[in-house]
Each structure stands twice: as C-alpha cells, then as structure tokens.
Symmetry: C2
Subunit: 455 residues, 2 copies
Amino acid sequence: MSNPHEYAAAQADRFREQLKTLIRIPSVSTLPERQAETRQAAEWLADDLKQAGFETVEVLPTAGHPVVYAEWLGAGSAAPTVLVYGHYDVQPAVREDGWDSDPFEPVERDGFLYARGSSDDKGQMFAQVKAAEALLQTSQPRVNLKFLIEGEEEIGSPHLGAFVKANRERLMADVCVISDTGMRTSEQPVIAYSTRGLMYLEVEVTGPKQDLHSGGYGGIVHNPAQALAEIVAQLHDADGSIAVPGFYDEVLPLSQHERDELKKSAMPDSFWQEATGVPAFWGEADYALHERIGGRPTLEINGMVSGFYGAGSKTVLPAKALAKMSCRLVANQQPRVIFEKVKAHILNLAPPTIRVEVRLLAEGDPALMDIQSPVMQAAIRAYEQGWGRRPVFERGGGTLPILADFQRELNGLPIILMGFGLNSDGAHGPNERFSLEMFHKGIDTAIYFLEAVGG
Amino acid sequence: MSNPHEYAAAQADRFREQLKTLIRIPSVSTLPERQAETRQAAEWLADDLKQAGFETVEVLPTAGHPVVYAEWLGAGSAAPTVLVYGHYDVQPAVREDGWDSDPFEPVERDGFLYARGSSDDKGQMFAQVKAAEALLQTSQPRVNLKFLIEGEEEIGSPHLGAFVKANRERLMADVCVISDTGMRTSEQPVIAYSTRGLMYLEVEVTGPKQDLHSGGYGGIVHNPAQALAEIVAQLHDADGSIAVPGFYDEVLPLSQHERDELKKSAMPDSFWQEATGVPAFWGEADYALHERIGGRPTLEINGMVSGFYGAGSKTVLPAKALAKMSCRLVANQQPRVIFEKVKAHILNLAPPTIRVEVRLLAEGDPALMDIQSPVMQAAIRAYEQGWGRRPVFERGGGTLPILADFQRELNGLPIILMGFGLNSDGAHGPNERFSLEMFHKGIDTAIYFLEAVGG
C-alpha cells in the first residue's frame, strides 16, 4: 500500500482504539497525584511515535512534566521541515462535575468520542501523529518531521519557553503546525492566522492612611474609589477608542485584502448578540464586530475592588481602591512599550489628592501570520482536499504566548493553527467530546498539508 | 441641705460607687447570652430612678430589650418639660481584646474610670440621672422630668422609633437632652448642634449575560466595570461639588453667624492632616474643612466590586459591577428626595450599551438645632457655670437617626447634645474610660441646665 490516505482509511479503527488507550491514561498535569500517569502518557506516546516510523524519539526532562520529542529527517537538509506542536496533558475531570460517563473511559455516541482530552488536545494532536505515521509507512516523505508534544499546556506551559530556547537549533523548522483549536461548524474549515498579545496591569489608588468614617471625614478627602473611577473613565474616548497617547502608534493596520478575507468568516451580529446578551454593542464604530475582536487592540477592566461591597450598608470612606486591567494587543504592539504608555497616562491623570501605583502583572506578544505565504497556500490546498471546501480566515481574539515563543526563538517561522476541534466540544468542561469525522478528516488534511509542503 | 450642687458634691463618692455597680452588669445588647444581664441593668436603673425621687418608673417592653421610663411631673403642666435620652446597653468586650483589666470590673486610675460602658453611655447617662436626683432631693424643681433610657442603642435602636411613635403623647417635652457624645479636650466644652442625614444606595451595572473571556469578546462589549467608572466619575464636578442636578436645592446655607461660631471650634488643618494622612485635601474650595464636614452634604463611594480582584491576573470581561455610595445630608435635605435625584442622574448617565439598577439601602434625616434658641442659651449658661467656660459650637459630620425620630414624633422639639465624654475615651474599643472630673462636672452642668430651663 503506497498511498497514505488509503493507509489512514484502512487503519481508521486501529487509530481510534489507540486514541482511546491514550485517553484512558489520566495525565492531569495540575494534580501532583497524577504525576506518574502524566509521565506514563508521555512514554506511551513516545512508543507510538517510534512504531509510527520516527528515527529519534525521546522523553526529555524539563523542570516539570517531560516533553516528548520525535524527529524524522530522512527528506534531507534541502527539504522543508515541519514542526508539529501539541500537548498530551489534560484538564482535571471527575464524574461529579456533571459527566454522563467516566471522563477517562472514552465512549462513542452519535459520532462523537466522549472523554477528557478527546478534543483538547489528545485527539487533535494524535491526528497529526497518525498523519505522520501514514506518510512514513507508505512513502518516502519529502518533508522532515519534528514533533514537540508537551505535558504542561494546561498549566500555562511554564517550562516550554526555556525548553524551546535551549533546543532552538534542534527545533528549527520552516513551518510550525498546531492542532489545538476549534472551528464553529464541521462543514466550513477556518484558519486563525493571528492571536492577540496581552499586557495585564493593576492600578492601586491610596488616599487616607486607613479606612475612615464617611461622616467624620467625608467632604475633605478625595475618595480613592471615586479617584480610581475618574482615572478609569479617562482611558477610553467617547468613540470607544483608547485614549492613551500613542497607544495605536505601532498597530499594523488591517489591509483591505485581510478585511475582505475576514468578511468571509464573519459571524452575523445575531451570533454575537446571542453569545453576549448585551443590550447594544460597543466599540470602535469604524470596524466590524469581528474586526474589533481579532484585528484591534483593547483595554479591558478585568476587575475592581474598594471598601465595602457586602450586603447592606457600611458608611466607610475607603483607604484604597484597586483595578485590574489588561490590553489585548495586535501586531506590531509590544507589551512592555504599551505598559509604559498606559502607566504614564494613568500617572498623568492622577491628581495630587491621592497616590497611584501601576504594576505590570503579565505580558504576551501578539502573533500574526501572512495569509499569502506559501505555507498558508499549502494549508489552504490541504483543507480543500481534506474537507472539500476552501477554508476561510479569521483573527483570534485570545492570546497564545507559545506562538510568540516559537516565533522569537525559531527565526519567526510561520505557524499554522490547523484546529480539528469544534467550538462545541466543551474543552475544559464536563462531557468533553471530539467528532470522529473531524478526527479522520483531520488526519487526511494533515497528510495533504505535509504533502503540499513537500511540494 | 437645699442646694442640689452641694448635694451632688456631698454624694460624689456614693454616685461613683453606684456607677461602678451599674457598670458591673454586663448589659451587652448584641449578645443573646447577655439577655438576662441586659434586663438586670434596666431593672437596677429603674430602682435607682425610684430612689432618686421619680414618681413613676417603668420597665417597658419592646420587641427587643426593654426601655426604662421615668417621669416626675411635679412642676405642673405650665412648667417646661425636659426629656432626657440615654442608653444602658454597651458594646461587647472581653479581656483578650487588649484590655489591661477586666472590662466589667471598673478600675480607677489617674482620674479615669476604666470599664466597658464607663463613657458610652452608662457614665454619661448616669450623670443626668444623678443631676435629676440632686434636684429632686433638694428642691421643688421648676421643670418636669422625663427619662427615656433604652437598651438597644449599640445595635442600632431597632425598636426605638416605634416606641417613641407609640408613646408620643407621654414623651412630649419642650427640650430633649442627650449625653452620649465626646469633646476634644476637658477644658473647652463643645455643643454639637447638628448631625448630617444619610442616604445610602447601590448601583449595579450589568452588561453581558455572564462573565466573558476578554480575548473572545473584548472590543464589542461595553465593559460593566468601565461603564460603572464612567458613571461614578460624573457624580462630582471638577471643583468637588456634586454634579447631580438639583442636589443642593434644599440645602439650608450656613449663616454668617454660624460660620463665625464654627470658626471658634475649628481644628487646624494640621489636625485633619494628621488624622487622614492624605497627600492633599479635597472638596469644595469655598468652604473651610470643618464646614465641609459638618455643614455641607457629600456623595461618597463606600465600595466597588467587579470581576477579578485577587492576586495575579485573570482575563475576564466581567458581567457586572457594583458600587455602594452614600450621601451625608444637611438640613433641609430629605433622603428620599435626594435618592430620587441621584437615581435619575445615574440613569440619565447610563448608555444604551449596559443596564443599570439603583437601589436605596438606608436613610436617615439630618438634624439641626437653632443655636440662638432659648434652650440653647440655657445650655450655654449651664456650661459656663459647670465648666467655667463658654461652650463653642460645632456641626457633627455623622448621622444620629434618633434625633430625627424624636423631632419628627415630638413636634420638632430642640435637642441638646450635652456630651460629657472625651473623644479619647475609646468608646467601643479596649480600655474604654471615663474622666471622673467630667462625670462630676457633668452632673453639675446638667443641674445648671435643668435650673436654667426652669427659669
């Protein structure tokens, strides 16, 4: 048998049973009592990669759970190299959370496989593994393959950045593929080609040296909660844009081509209305809703606290007030630069009647892939062949710091988010599931992609 | 012996020992396990009032702890009647709170009596009882006397309003005297002739139907925390005045005479600086600090809460935001009228992108006594005689709803806050104390006042 697609079709039942075996290993990375099982999943996966035909397979230590690394470089140094990233760890799950069946005993029902990790990310990652196997078992691939499967994605990948930095020569590739995202429907494939960056800070306003009696002191002290509100209210202009001077200076504008492409994937306003339930939308009027989410930066208040907020009334004049806020950033904004601009603006707004501190809490770079690049064209062809339909493009609103980690360490390589999940899979929740149709279409599409990159 | 002052001097030691006996009864109104002792204090006091010479003494039931009521109407219906209000219940206290001695075993040290309730209010209230005794035992008083001593002041007087309403004919008087406040120094007597009212509300802003992921939805939804801040920021003008239309309409302005009198009791800015520790004062520039506190209304943010405010970062777009806020009111502002104005302003500020609810939580009327009235002149004379010094006047910043209750039910009778405590007595805290000099000067001053009212 020389055709990888025929191989994948013939092996479909075995692939499915193998996935169930992997799912049965409860590799919950956040639970110390699951450390042995998490390692067991890594070793099971390493064995499977060896049997799939990889030349070198290693379970490499990190300061936390190990990384599974496999490579096949038989295409030669002149051929392109594909780096596949995924993760073998999963979120916690217990039956009592609302599962209809044991979360670690996969059940097939109505075309879905129900289990923790079935979609996120064992199922999606395993589709890439099986695509590589199909290629390696049936042909002499014209691409080199590198697989990096980590065990700490569900706890924020605390050691992945250091691992990539320490192994940059070895991981160097021409394109990175990640199957760890969802599509809205199984019919229309979508490629997310950007993620937003993040800059998270907190603002603390202090006034009196301790909480005061509002009767005894009200009228002579600038109330810190009021002062914080006055600052927060000056972070946006009336048109919904961000009032921080220079905030938009580095923003790479949406091109007309992108806007045209994005329109093809745009959900109708009724979708967003249903999802949010807001009485009316808000934001930059010059941009469509989907453009505001993926293509524009934001400044969001994530939380505020001051004084008394329990039931009933307490006549306190609070000593301080705190706000958590964060910016979602787009290319080419840099979190540190934005932090300094927001901080300067806030300090500039602060009146002499209070004291203000601004502290940076977290940061992550935005990522943007060129939708007209050759590898993106390869991905488009792969979806057309695997799905029978041309994919549409979207910009993701969230932040995947690993994308920026990979790009920073690996010469800015392009990354294809080749998600085979569905948004309705219920990742992280009870009754997580994975469409078996998506699993098998995903294997096919991944094979087509590797073939297309090979030329 | 026909002179009440000589009587009081001769009985000083007995008065003091009687006060200690009353203090030893732990009448902690908030503790169910002290219900018997609370009642015991009421009965002890009733016995003492009988022995003092009152014609009628009753321990009257309420829905909570009983009221002690005593009257002597021997001056005849043409003579003026003085109603004395006080309370026999106390705050909780245990040695472990930081007391140097048993809180319910009074100890004399350096001219002070240390014990729970020594100042608030057993000591101050008992000075009035002993003044009445001195008058009744030595003369035919030219004033009728009514004493109303409640047992629930420390839990907010939940049943006093109903009691006063139900007994309004019986309680009718020409002036009410309350000894339950403090002076700054023992040398300079101060009469607080007003208290501020209170209107307490909460504002809830809701946006999306549940907390959203700030990456998935940030940019199209009006953030409720931001929207709340935008509303709060529009409640004051830049000059520190309140921006609610019509807010000041009913405010009775400070007269020049009052401003002159208040200047005599005003503490220097350094006092307020020390007490608050703020980097700079804030508020209505046209009014001195003490005028802003006592003579002007405020709108204070008592608390705010929204979204995530713990350690670290969580990229939530919160579904709602809540602010607690309250106005301190001055004569002739009415809490309900002010609530409607503030509510209307807030709803008017609310944009169509969010929903806002405004809820009234508490209210209390302001009280203002005429410092030029005949009874106030009697109080001034009494202090001059008892203290050897003319009292100064101040406006209190806090709220005493019972004042408005008395005035509303009892034909707007004038109320004299004849406090014999010191601000440094530590009421409600550990090592509460009462100056024995203030106790005896207080008895004398109370006698002079009853004599002055009698003409």
